[in-house]
């Protein structure tokens, strides 16, 4: 009698423990993949946003006597939108800040690689740029 009781009682416990272990292993296996995927997607988006901002800055400089480029300073995206050089204000998906680099290029604090490097899915649409 005790034999049957211990068998049925233990089975439920083992099943719950096994399922919990499987869920834990699945999280341990899939979470790093998810993080990698998200990082890659955010990096690609950020690079494309920086390309757009760079084109807007180039357009602004081409149409104004005073340059907007201030190396090391954050880029005023709202100002570029108000003046019509940027269609919409977009921020880095990884909460990075867009700043001007030493040579006037747009850099992101979260994604330090330059716009020209790394693979992209497709070329961004060409805009009027004098750079």
């Amino acid at each position: 009698m005790t034999h049957a009781c211990s068998r049925t009682g233990g089975f439920g416990l083992y099943a719950v423990a096994l399922l919990s272990m499987m869920v834990l292993l699945a999280i341990m296996y899939f979470f790093p993949q998810y993080v990698n995927m998200r990082t890659g997607i955010y990096r690609i988006s950020c690079k494309e946003i920086r390309k757009k901002v760079e084109r807007a800055v180039a357009d602004y400089d081409a149409n104004n006597t005073m340059t907007i480029i201030k190396p090391g300073k954050p880029i005023d995206l709202d100002f570029l939108k108000e003046t019509g050089f940027l269609a919409e204000v977009q921020y880095c998906p990884d909460k990075g800040t867009y700043k001007f680099g030493p040579s006037g290029e747009v850099i992101c604090t979260a994604h330090p690689e330059p716009v020209a490097s790394g693979p992209t899915l497709a070329p961004a649409p060409e805009g009027p740029s004098r750079r």
Partner: protein, 211 residues
């Protein structure tokens, strides 16, 4: 304790197949639901985004994640609620069996298990009630034999009171008593109370009652 090995996996085929069906269909439902949500949300976002460029990729990714989290939470709540109802079909009968077994153990053999419509373990209910009926029948027979013992005892008492010491009358009463004892033995012989059959047989022989 000897290790128990399962050789027959489908012991209660109907019950096991029903629960396999419930688990598999739930899994399929969740897999299809989550798959469809990812598929439709992603493509609707892609199609519905004006001037789609690669910089919108993160927005689409975040939107799909947000919708997926919302729906997974809904699925968890729905499946948890459904599992309460499904498990109740087993837990309810088990609770009733436990309660009935306690009542019967306390001596009330009028107790019967009555399951509700749609409950599982209906075959166990029939077997349990048949067992209780059999117990009732045995106790009834015991009582009849006890009643006959009382009558025989009274006869013996009267014979002794007459003080005639008629050996034939006393022998007749003694014969009756042994006959009743034999009947009582037959009634209780149906019960197996010792897991060791050799020991049980030894006990029976050591009884010392002439047959």
């Amino acid at each position: 304790m000897a290790k128990h090995r399962r050789r027959t996996f489908l012991i209660k085929t109907g019950l096991q197949l029903r629960y396999m069906g419930v688990i598999v269909s739930t899994m399929l439902l969740v897999a299809f639901g989550v798959g469809w949500i990812i598929y439709s949300t992603s493509w609707n976002r892609i199609v519905g985004t004006p001037d789609l460029t690669i910089d919108k990729l993160a927005e689409i990714f975040d939107a799909v994640n947000a919708i997926l989290i919302k729906w997974v939470a809904i699925f968890i709540v729905v499946i948890a609620s459904l599992s309460v109802f499904v498990s109740h079909k087993i837990a309810g009968p088990v609770y009733r069996f436990e309660r009935s077994a306690k009542v019967i153990a306390s001596g009330d053999l009028t107790q019967r298990v009555r399951l509700r419509h749609g409950d599982e373990l209906r075959e166990l209910q029939d077997a349990f009630n048949t067992m209780t009926d059999a117990l009732c029948e045995m106790v009834k027979k015991d009582r009849e034999v006890i009643q006959r013992l009382v009558v025989a005892g009274n006869r013996l008492n009267e014979t002794l009171k007459k003080n005639k010491q008629d050996p034939q009358a006393i022998e007749a009463v003694a014969r009756d008593l042994y006959g009743i004892i034999e009947e009582l033995r037959k009634v209780t012989k149906g019960f197996k109370i010792d897991p060791d059959p050799a020991r049980a047989a030894g006990d029976s022989e050591a009884d010392g009652t002439p047959s």
